[in-house]
Symmetry: C2
Subunit: 132 residues, 2 copies
DNA sequence: TGTTAATCCGATCAAATTGGTCGTATAAAT
DNA sequence: ATTTATACGACCAATTTGATCGGATTAACA
């Protein structure tokens, strides 16, 4: 429980890798995958998600790859997680529609407390802090 | 990702239920399971784990059940999670033995940062706060 | 302009984790 | 003794996650 997924891990590794290069240098999926021994296809998918989320720019064709687009200090971890993994498990109760019993719902507020605490923690943590 | 498990949820529901009774009142698994519509067997397992962990007392036989034993304000959430779920996912890197590549290991420190932050947050959160 | 090397993207399979069930043993109140 | 509850290990089912595959698209470069 409370584990980060590989995709999140790979995304952070990739960002950190790109951060250590010149601002406009391009890193290919293959290059990153080989250097850190990450399955190429899964890393590719992760980078695509980040490209779609506006975190990196994709450059197609040979000599293509990715480079950082967004200011990483402006992206908090909740946004980051959601771009990569979609809606978070820790938000489940908010959308739980089969929560019909009022008593059961009230009693579930401990879980809400935990989720709220986690949420505010990740909202105050930026991708920039984590990768630097 | 980052989801709490059902067992943790059921444990908190049960504790909260017992907290709303007189200090020495006994709650049976069946009573709790029916009131909150929780699978009896799974709830039983969870209560057994809490009994083994010294959080509640088990009273056997007919008219038996459980009552709170420990001071809930003295148990932090890390301890609580570990009693119920065993070693946490968020500690994985510490024990990761196949982490041979130094470069890969260094690059993984972002995950360590996140884990450390989560850890200290849960260390400073007690079961008492959450269930009350 | 055709070849090549990269990203893109959906579908799908495999593995791990979690949720839930079953059967039986054991303990204690009546 | 009988009944009713917890105790506990083994097991199956469902969900989530990790990884793979096949093919389409894009663009550099000879």
């Amino acid at each position: 429980m409370l584990k980060l997924t590989r995709k999140v891990e790979y995304a952070l590794i990739a960002l950190r890798h790109m951060q250590n290069k010149e601002p406009d240098a391009i890193s290919s999926t293959k290059e990153i995958s080989e250097m850190y021994d990450i399955p190429l296809e899964l890393l590719a998918k992760t980078l695509q998600l980040m490209a779609r989320g506006g975190i990196v720019n994709a450059v197609q064709g040979p000599t293509g790859g990715y480079k950082i687009k967004a200011k990483l200090e402006n992206i908090n971890m909740i946004e980051f997680f959601e771009k990569i993994e979609g809606p978070l498990g820790l938000m489940d109760c908010y959308f739980d529609s089969d929560c019909t019993l009022i008593s059961a719902c009230n009693i579930r507020s401990p879980i809400k407390k935990i989720n709220d605490n986690m949420r505010s923690m990740f909202e105050n943590m930026t991708v920039g802090e984590i990768t630097q």
